[in-house]
């Protein structure tokens, strides 16, 4: 008998009597006889002790290495307090806060998260989270479409994460929306190319990376000015995979973007093979009724006490059904909680210091790599990620590095992009010694 079941056989007999059933099987008589499954499911069971060994063995089958992997998922140190607080059962085992009187912990945490995200991005409103950066991006485009009726084209920069682009394609292809690429040169938008693209009068949205997928901090001020001038009605969407950058970068809100979205896994969540992640979506107050997802608002109770509730639900599927702004229901609540705890620990001072540490470590790596014979850094102002180009066989190089205990970066050919380039990410988890080791491996590359 499993340790998960609190009913004893005596309980079961007594309950069956109360129900008026002869046996348990009779409770399933509404399932047509020819649809009943008469066998036993072929799945083994393990004691807790054995189970842990099964999973330890699997976890040990993954190869641990020093790593410069990023490309949308980042390894950052997670303070012990994040794990400890987030694992409190009152947070972890609660449902979506449908009963606000007994869910103020979750609701206030969301309200605080919304405030943090607004401060980081320079926006006025944040929702309570999306599944991940890629779906937040797709939903941001749909939101822009709702805000600008009668136009059907979205311009997407080629320097946005290729997976985000793929997810957006899946989401948009059945809805009659045309995606037009903004081509890039050396992983950057050229202003005259953007201006030409904006001449299309059907454009309802323009999406650019900030920093972009290749780590480059593009001039969002110039981009925003061009969009405002050429397509004043279009929504400008900024996409960020590494919002730690906002510790050093002017927030997108200051450049007047309409929707700032992306991935906030960097804040207190593990890489976890790419999930669960934490999609964020922030916007302007005037667009709030077009926003997808849950949002928490402040109000008062019958005694005049301040409290928090899920609000603006007239946008949502449980009220509006097929006319909702999104089909999202469960989101990434617990990842959001981890993020708000992390940001609370980081504070204003810590955010700046950590952003600087990431950036300066990456600059250190860029400087050192620039001096190697066969690897060159693709130029551009960057935060903690950058592209290197090499005439060495990168597949061999990565393989050789891995054998030597180092994952040197993500080859862009993994995304169907250039074979001679790789994306290197440096965070506070990498030491100066790691960087030296990486450069040594590059020096030795054939």
């Amino acid at each position: 008998m499993s340790r998960f079941f609190p009913l004893s056989d005596d309980d079961r007999r007594e309950m069956l009597r109360k129900v008026g059933a002869d046996n348990i099987q009779s409770l399933f008589s509404s399932i047509p006889e020819n649809g009943q499954f008469k066998e036993t499911l072929n799945i083994p069971s393990y004691s807790e002790q054995e189970l842990l060994n099964v999973f330890r063995e699997l976890a040990d089958a993954n190869t641990p290495v020093r790593s410069f992997a990023g490309a949308g998922v980042y390894a950052h140190y997670i303070p012990a307090a994040v794990d400890s607080l987030a694992s409190r059962e009152e947070f972890l085992t609660a449902y979506t806060p449908y009963q606000p009187e007994i869910s103020q912990g979750t609701l206030q945490s969301i309200f605080e998260y919304q405030t943090y995200m607004c401060a980081l991005t320079g926006m006025e409103v944040s929702n309570a989270s999306m599944y991940d950066g890629a779906t937040a991006f797709a939903e941001a485009i749909l939101m822009a479409k709702r805000a600008v009726k009668k136009k059907n084209t979205v311009l997407i920069s080629d320097a946005i994460h290729p997976h985000y682009r793929k997810v957006a394609e899946s989401y948009l292809k059945n809805l009659g929306i045309t995606i037009t690429a903004i081509p890039t040169v050396n992983h950057r938008i050229e202003m005259d190319v953007l201006v030409t693209a904006l001449e299309n009068e059907d454009v309802f949205g323009v999406a650019v990376g900030y920093p972009n997928f290749f780590g480059i901090v593009e001039p969002l001020d110039e981009i925003a000015a061009a969009v405002r001038e050429k397509a004043p009605k279009a929504m400008l969407i900024s996409v960020t995979t590494e919002p730690l950058a906002f510790g050093l970068l002017t927030p997108p809100g200051e450049f007047g973007v309409d929707i700032a979205c992306g991935e906030a896994q960097s804040f207190g969540n593990y890489p976890g093979f790419g999930g669960p992640l934490l999609g964020f979506l922030t916007t302007k107050q005037k667009l709030v009724r077009n926003m997808p997802g849950r949002v928490v608002g402040q109000t008062t109770d019958v005694d005049g006490k301040t409290g928090y509730v899920l609000t603006l639900s007239a946008r949502e599927q449980h009220i509006r059904r097929e006319k909702a702004t999104s089909n999202i229901c469960s989101n990434q609540g617990w990842c959001m909680l981890r993020a708000v705890i992390y940001l609370a620990l980081l504070g204003k001072t810590g955010l700046k210091e950590l952003a600087e540490l990431n950036h300066r470590l990456a600059e250190t790596a860029k400087t050192a790599i620039s001096k190697t014979a066969r690897f060159k850094v693709v130029p551009g102002m960057s935060f903690n990620e950058f592209v290197v180009r090499s005439d060495a066989d990168l597949e061999d190089f990565v393989e050789h590095a891995v054998v030597n205990g180092m994952f040197p970066g993500v080859r862009l050919s993994k995304f169907g992009l250039a074979k001679d380039e790789m994306l290197i990410t440096v965070t506070e988890m990498n030491t100066v010694e790691d960087i030296h080791r990486l450069v040594e491996l590059m020096e030795a590359a054939k």
Partner: protein, 486 residues
């Protein structure tokens, strides 16, 4: 303890400047910063600086304003709030898993990929389906994925069908997911037994129907007894059957959707498979499908041929990607741990106990609360407030009064086809004592409704906040600290 009843200030009213809750390494010999121009942040974001202890106290106090499934009975219908085994968390926290990066070469993540394959296989066994994609991040995301697959399948056959049929008892995500796949939604009425009205279905069904989304057991807890017939009717017209598997906890080991004519379905790992709901996710909504739907599943596909696991990206008919990477992997691990803790027999026992529990509550309360559909139910039972209406007491009052007695209210006002519904799903995780307490309290509340209805109108009495003004929240939205007119 006073802390249990006190409000907690927002974090922005705490702390100050120059404190730290996290310290950093200070490596030497770093290159200087190289951010300049208009993109260099002039003013740091205005975040409070707090020490570790202040952050710990703040979130610990906030946690005490919450109610989780570890606290007690949580009969939230259609949400399957079962026990979240503690070993699940240990498993998902193993270093080799939590730090595994999605862009590493396959050879470095063999354990991760193998675990994914193991869960796919287990879910196929449970559902009787042929294939499974773990990419969707939640139930509604699974619905969207499944409906996109239906669309891709129909288009491959050259059919540009426009309509998705959905019963009127369905969850709101069903019509929303259909609309986001570009379908027009047509509602199908339920009959007097709470099941799909076959006559209404026959009338709605034509060559323009791409498929039907059917929740089974439906949101009334009733098994759709005609599901095989419905599948035949759809298939005859070239339409496909999607099953919303949110209620799979009612049929594990008892019936397999793959053997009932279902083409594609989703499961909610955060319901049936015990992963914690986290106050609103992360969930996971794997999609299971029959062989003929496999070409349309999201990319990439985990391929374990010959014992070496890799991701196959070469799927020309796929709907594409629906997640930035491969789904909520750490949630997937928790569900796998649960399934392997129980095994085939244990999963069936879960279903039996869950159905027994719901029927026990139903039998015990049938004289005190009205049951609108008097037909056999499985894992949940829907009551309503018909017997209480004459005292001016509503479902909301009953729900709020339960809080006074330390019980989480059931799902209320859903499904929409029942006026004032109270949807109770006890799950297999409740002891008889816990259920008896709930029954006793519900009977007491039924009496209170008749004798002192104001007790119910004013409930809850003893919570950190009492009934909140939701109209005010929506009319004058204050969505961040310092935002709006506070």
């Amino acid at each position: 303890m006073k802390t249990l009843r006190e409000k907690e200030k927002t974090i922005f009213e705490l702390g100050g400047s120059g404190k730290r809750g996290m310290d950093l390494p200070k490596p030497e010999g770093l290159a200087p910063a190289a951010i300049s121009g208009p993109c260099m942040r002039g003013v740091a974001p205005d975040l409070p600086d707090l020490s570790e202890v202040e952050v710990v106290r703040h979130f610990t106090r906030l946690s005490k304003l919450n109610y989780g499934v570890d606290d007690g009975f949580y009969p939230l219908g259609s949400c399957t709030m079962k026990h979240n085994p503690k070993i699940n968390e240990v498993v998902a926290s193993l270093e080799g898993f939590k730090w595994s990066h999605p862009m590493l070469p396959y050879g470095m993540v063999q354990g991760t990929l193998k675990a994914m394959k193991m869960l796919e296989n287990a879910l196929n066994e449970i559902t009787g389906m042929d294939g499974c994609s773990l990419q969707p991040a939640a139930g509604a995301h699974g619905e969207l994925t499944g409906v996109m697959m239906i669309r891709a399948c129909q288009e491959k056959k050259g059919n540009s069908r426009q309509i998705m049929l959905i019963p009127d008892s369905a969850h709101g995500t069903n019509p929303a997911s259909s609309a986001f796949s570009g379908y027009e939604v047509k509602e199908v009425a339920s009959d007097e037994t709470g099941c799909v009205d076959l006559k209404a279905l026959a009338e709605a069904l034509d060559e323009n129907v791409a498929g039907m989304m059917l929740t089974n057991p439906n949101t009334l807890g009733i098994f759709e007894k005609n599901i095989q017939k419905i599948a035949d009717m759809l298939h005859e017209k070239g339409a496909l059957l999607y099953m919303d598997g949110a209620n799979m906890n009612a049929m594990m080991g008892k019936a397999r959707p793959g053997e009932l004519g279902v083409d594609v379905m989703h499961l909610n790992l955060h319901k049936t498979f015990s992963t914690p709901h986290g106050g609103g996710g992360p969930g996971a909504g794997p999609v299971c499908f029959r062989e003929h739907m496999a070409p349309f599943q999201p990319t990439p596909v985990v391929d374990g041929e010959g014992g070496y696991h890799k991701l196959n990206w070469n799927c020309p008919d796929s709907i594409g990607k629906v997640h930035g990477f491969y789904g909520n992997f750490l949630v997937i691990l928790k569900a796998l741990a649960y399934i392997l803790s129980l095994g085939g027999n244990g999963l069936e026992q879960s279903t039996e106990d869950a159905v027994l529990a719901a029927n026990y509550v139903r039998a015990s309360l049938k004289d005190d609360f009205h049951i609108p559909f008097d037909v056999p139910t499985l894992h949940e039972v829907v009551f309503n407030d018909k017997l209480q209406e004459e005292f001016g007491v509503s479902t909301l009052d009953i729900a709020k009064r339960l809080i006074d007695y330390g019980i989480h209210p059931p799902t209320i006002y859903f499904p929409l086809i029942v006026h004032g519904s109270l949807m109770v799903e006890p799950t297999e995780s409740e002891s008889k004592e816990e259920m008896d307490y709930f029954i006793e309290i519900m009977k007491k509340i039924a009496k209170e409704a008749a004798t002192s209805p104001e007790l119910l109108h004013d409930a809850p009495h003893d919570t950190p906040v009492r009934r909140l003004d939701e109209t005010k929240a929506a009319r004058n939205p204050v969505l961040r600290y310092g935002g709006g007119k506070q």
